[in-house]
């Protein structure tokens, strides 16, 4: 074993060596054991049987569709927003910068409560929507709005950082060659930042998929309408442990796949950077 600058072969380094090994083992086990425990509590037969339960299927379907819609909205709105935000100077830019990051530190339950106060039946905007016969809170739309609110900073931060670090001489060259700003963005900026943007999008999808606090506050917990996978885990824990277990395992597998995808994408991007 090697720690940068020190070869741990000599006798006097043995305590350091043991401490280092212990530290790695303890941290790894602390993170891995709860996840591993999930797999030990079920059997493949039970897992496959629970998987076909209507509650699991509807929660899985709802989670995937709402997360995909949230992601598409975040990418379509967030990409041009992040680009314009980076390139333009406007009053209140610092404030906007802070607001973008706010959902990262805001407790999700507070985010859900705030959305409810704004869009609920008696909310600031909600009361007018209600007059027009539009109800937002406790609908599938509320699930998507909660996911966008909580997960979008993951994409926006990544996009902002990519566009800020992007060498503008590529864009300037494209412009002098006759390309419009839009063409420059689509043919130069976007392809050259695509890898980083995709990894930001994958993280956003993962966060949207795991969203719980804001969703339960703003959208409620209606099976087939607003009950996403994390909410179904909560219900399962109270009423049907095996269902909760199956959905938890599904979420672990999905989360793991997301992290591996991000790692592969960022590793592929490294040489270019």
């Amino acid at each position: 074993m090697r720690i940068t600058g020190i070869t741990l072969g000599k006798k006097r380094y043995i305590p350091t060596y043991i401490a280092a090994c212990l530290l790695i083992v303890v941290v790894t086990l602390y993170l891995a054991l709860p996840v591993i425990a999930l797999f030990f509590r079920t059997t493949p037969e039970l897992f496959w049987t629970s998987l076909s339960d209507p509650l699991v299927i509807s929660a899985l379907w709802l989670s995937l569709t709402t997360s995909v819609i949230s992601l598409v909205v975040v990418i379509l709105v967030g990409t041009p927003f992040a680009y314009i935000h980076c390139r333009a100077t406007y009053p209140g830019k610092v404030l906007v910068d802070t607001l973008i990051d706010l959902p990262l530190v805001l407790p999700p339950a507070v985010a859900g409560f705030a959305l409810l106060v704004l869009y609920g039946r008696m909310g600031l905007i909600g009361r007018y929507l209600n007059m027009m016969g539009i109800s937002v809170a406790f609908t599938t739309l509320a699930v998507i709005m909660a996911q966008i609110f909580v997960a979008s900073p993951f994409y926006l931060r990544q996009a902002k950082s990519l566009f800020e670090q992007f060498d503008q001489s590529y864009e300037h060259t494209a412009r002098t060659l006759g390309a419009s700003p839009l063409r420059t963005f689509m043919t130069i900026t976007l392809p050259l930042t695509a890898g980083g943007l995709v990894s930001g999008a994958v993280m956003t999808f993962g966060r949207a998929l795991g969203e719980f606090g804001a969703t339960i506050m703003f959208a409620g917990n209606l099976p087939g309408v607003t009950q996403t996978m994390p909410l179904a885990v909560y219900v399962g824990m109270e009423h049907n442990f095996n269902l909760g277990l199956t959905i938890s395992i599904l979420l672990v597998i999905l989360s793991f796949a997301i992290m591996i995808t991000v790692r592969l994408l960022t590793r592929k991007e490294a040489p270019r950077a």
């Binding site: 060498d167 590529y170 060259t173 002098t176 390309a179 270019r272």
Partner: protein, 232 residues
């Protein structure tokens, strides 16, 4: 013919200069780092706006704040090679050279003909399908030069094009630049830190110091003390 009168307040000093460059003439813009050389080129290209003055190319006013004239960057017909060559790494050499022609919506067969000619002119015959990100410094510079002149510019500008090149590549790019400028009969501005670039390829040198011209003339006449004081 390029005629430029440029005034712009920079952070530490005002940029204040006027000069002209005739057809087939290569002007070497020299000066220490931060003396306003790249800003001058960026203003001519339209990437920055001057506070006052005017930029006229072939009797067309590209920019004149007093008259409210400002032709957009993409309509100025200026070939601009940046310091790092800025070849698009995700595109092939052919796609790089064709980029400006596609942006100008030329017919496909016309683009192919232009690209073939540029590839031959820049000695890039074996590299057409190679991604530009995988090229050497000298090859990138030739691609950038070919891409800039493929749009048949009315003015060619190169920002420190020889800095990161070895002697042989530098010679090749200089020869190609001279050939292109003579063939297209266009004015050319090259930013350089080295007096040898001036004597090798330049017809005239303009030395900048803190945004103002301090010496102008033929490269072989440049006084040694001036070049030492102002080019490092």
């Amino acid at each position: 013919m390029l005629e430029a009168v440029i005034r712009k307040q920079l952070r530490d000093f005002p940029l204040d200069l006027s000069f002209s460059v005739g057809p087939k003439e290569i002007l070497i813009l020299m000066g220490a780092n931060g003396s306003g050389k790249s800003t001058t080129l960026n203003i001519i290209a339209g990437l920055l706006q001057p506070d006052a003055g005017s930029v006229c190319l072939d009797n067309i006013t590209l920019c004149d704040p007093a008259q409210g004239v400002c032709i957009p960057v993409e309509e100025r017909r200026i070939g601009y090679v940046f310091q790092n060559s800025a070849v698009f790494p995700h595109l092939t050499v052919r796609e790089n050279i064709a980029y400006g022609l596609r942006a100008r919506r030329l017919p496909r067969n016309e683009i192919a003909g232009h690209v073939d000619r540029m590839i031959e002119l820049m000695h890039l015959e074996d590299l057409g399908q190679i991604r530009a990100g995988n090229l050497s410094g000298g090859q990138k510079q030739r691609v950038a030069l070919g891409r800039a002149i493929a749009i048949r510019p009315a003015l060619l500008m190169l920002d420190e094009p020889f800095t990161s090149l070895d002697a042989e590549s530098s010679r090749t790019v200089k020869d190609l630049t001279r050939m292109v400028v003579d063939e297209l009969k266009i004015p050319c501005i090259i930013i350089s830190h080295h007096i040898t670039d001036g004597t090798d390829i330049g017809d005239r040198v303009l030395l900048l110091h803190s945004g103002k011209p301090v010496w102008g003339g033929r490269p072989e006449d440049i006084p040694g003390d001036v070049s030492v004081c102002h080019c490092r």
